[in-house]
Amino acid sequence: MKKKNTNLTRREFIKDLFHKLLLLLLGSFVVSRFFKSAAAGYVWQIDPKKCVKCGRCATACVLTPSAVKCVHAFEICGYCNLCFGYFQPGALRLTADAENQLCPTGALQRRFVEDPFFEYTINEALCIGCGKCVKGCNLFGNGSLYLQVRHDRCKHCNECSIARVCAGRAFVRTPARKATFKNA
């Protein structure tokens, strides 16, 4: 009986030792990381300079339709008469008829401003993030159309499933506080 008792206390002693050891380990981890922590979480953003408009944003996102949408930076739009983001290459007539439009869902819409200029806006409800317009705009225009992760739609997955397949490796983890725009 006596032997059993000492056996028990030995086990308890070792358990207690490990308990303290693990507590120390966890504590030192938290403390050491705490002082180097990034204040807020990260969000995923696309670097437009690296984006090759491969079209995977439209299909690889866990959401359908994708959380990536086309965004128009109006400040650098050239208001081209022949908008290569809007018109199908070799379009017969420069009208808003579907066969002349590049966008497969009609999400890039134009509004008459004054002759001969139109203002191009993206209807986000329709945009699927395929990047066809972005490609056209970047090839021949100013590149005012670009693809970006829309943070109101994005689920902020720990590992972005588009980032994993992004051909240009353009997806970047960005601190959330820095992910807002100056003109927002």
């Binding site: 969000v43 866990v62 650098i76 004054e114 829309r150 943070h151 983890r173 100056k182």
Partner: protein, 428 residues
């Protein structure tokens, strides 16, 4: 600290393009001068989630863990734990969409050691708090806070007991999964746990067909084999198990003293109740010590075999890394082994990085995999050895007690115990 943060933010931000960058870009066609009163519009940029929610999440996690510990140990209420489960499904699941969960945070922690990725405060605490609670109260996180576990908890209907050998073999998978996740996170190749998270798709209400089927399959299995993901896959469960094993307090089956009525024997859905040890063993103590000694002599052999075996997987696993597979593809194209370009190789050539640099980077990653796999193999060999040593032991238990490593503190067994808190026994 603030200065340091700022510096790192700038470093991290060096690459991404902002509208500021975009405006600085060369404009082929300047904007026309409008004759009408037209004003160039400013695009709307939705903000990411507010910081406030980050802190709210931490507060809710802390509260939920505290409540779970209270229900499991002080109140001994299965109903409380079960209600909390539904709260977790709603809050951590559907409201928060699952990310970042403590299970996945494990990879962020590993990743932060190897790159210039800084752990956000939320991730640090989401990783550490459940472990801290496990170290004091057992796996109360698993009981009713984890959104992955909560979903499986809700479908347990007729749990069966798996044969012991199957249980022990399947129980090794989490160690492999943990090792794999650590390997991929430390080489910067990706977050395996998040990629193959079977349940987060339900919370996002959107998933790939494969992950949806996997999730549904696990839930269907979970009707009969309770919590299949938690027991046979969850890598975080390994850490929680270790911390819980050395816990100060733990859920107990009986409120007073065990009367060996055996009513709780089949109560545990995850087979985590240790029965009293048999009084007599086939072998004597001396023989047992001898067997133990013989086994110890074999341990180095197990470690070496495992380490060597795992290191053979270097090429297969390293190819899962994007840079390595890209380098391979480029090499094949350069040497005319493969014809045609892929989107990725095209994109690489547009970047105008030197091919040698890519090869060098790929070789570096491959070497990391090689070293990592040796460590992984040694670790797994150690796990197997320890598992056998534990199975050889004669713990000398006298009562029915929860297996502190595997018990998820769900509290079902408490209802089976006829002993009341004042020591009296209810007749049934």
């Amino acid at each position: 600290m603030r200065k340091f943060r700022l510096l790192v933010l700038i470093l991290v931000l060096a690459a991404p393009g902002w509208p500021a960058v975009a405006t600085a870009a060369e404009e082929r066609f300047p904007a026309p001068e409008f004759e009408t009163q037209y004003e160039i519009p400013t695009p709307a940029h939705p903000h990411p989630r507010q910081d406030f929610f980050e802190y709210l999440d931490i507060a809710v996690l802390l509260a939920a863990l505290g409540l779970a510990a209270f229900f499991a140990i002080k109140k001994r209420s299965r109903l409380g734990l079960f209600s909390l489960t539904f709260f977790s499904i709603l809050y951590f699941g559907f409201f928060r969409h699952g990310c970042i969960c403590p299970v996945g945070a494990l990879q962020n922690v590993i990743f932060s050691f190897s790159g210039d990725y800084l752990l956000p405060l939320g991730v640090i605490l989401f990783f550490a708090l459940p472990l801290l609670f496990a170290l004091f109260f057992g796996r109360v996180f698993c009981a009713s806070v984890c959104p992955l576990g909560a979903l499986q908890e809700a479908v347990i209907y007729k749990p069966i007991r798996l044969p012991q050998p199957i249980k022990h073999v399947l129980g090794l998978i989490p160690y492999l999964y943990l090792g794999l996740a650590v390997l991929f996170a430390s080489t910067g190749s990706g977050f395996v746990i998040c990629r193959f998270d079977p349940f987060v798709g339900f919370y996002r209400l959107s998933a790939t067909p494969f992950m949806l089927l996997l999730g549904l399959g696990l839930l269907l299995t979970g009707i009969f084999i309770a919590r299949p993901y938690c027991r046979f896959f969850c890598p975080y469960g390994v850490l929680l198990g270790i911390f819980s094993f050395f816990a100060k307090k733990h859920l107990s089956i009986t409120p007073k003293e065990c009367i060996h009525c055996r009513l709780c024997e089949n109560a545990c859905p995850v087979d985590a109740i240790n029965p009293p040890s048999p009084r007599l063993y086939k072998t004597s103590k001396a023989q047992q010590i001898k067997h133990f000694g013989i086994f110890l002599a074999f341990v180095p052999l197990i470690l070496a075999t495992s380490g060597f075996g795992f290191s053979r997987l270097t090429d297969v696993l390293a190819r899962q890394d994007r840079m390595v597979s890209l380098a391979e593809r480029i090499h094949q194209e350069e040497t005319n082994v493969a014809t045609g370009n892929t989107l990725d190789s095209d994109a690489f050539r547009q970047e105008q990085t030197r091919v040698e640099d890519l090869y060098r980077q790929a070789a570096r990653i491959r070497h990391k995999f090689y070293i990592g796999l040796w460590v992984f193999g040694l670790f797994f060999g150690l796990v197997i050895s320890l598992k056998i040593i534990v199975l050889m032991q004669r713990p000398g238990r006298t009562d029915y007690t929860p297996d502190r490593f595997h018990c998820i503190s769900c509290g079902r067994c408490m209802e089976y115990c006829p002993v009341q808190s004042d020591g009296s026994v209810t007749e049934t």
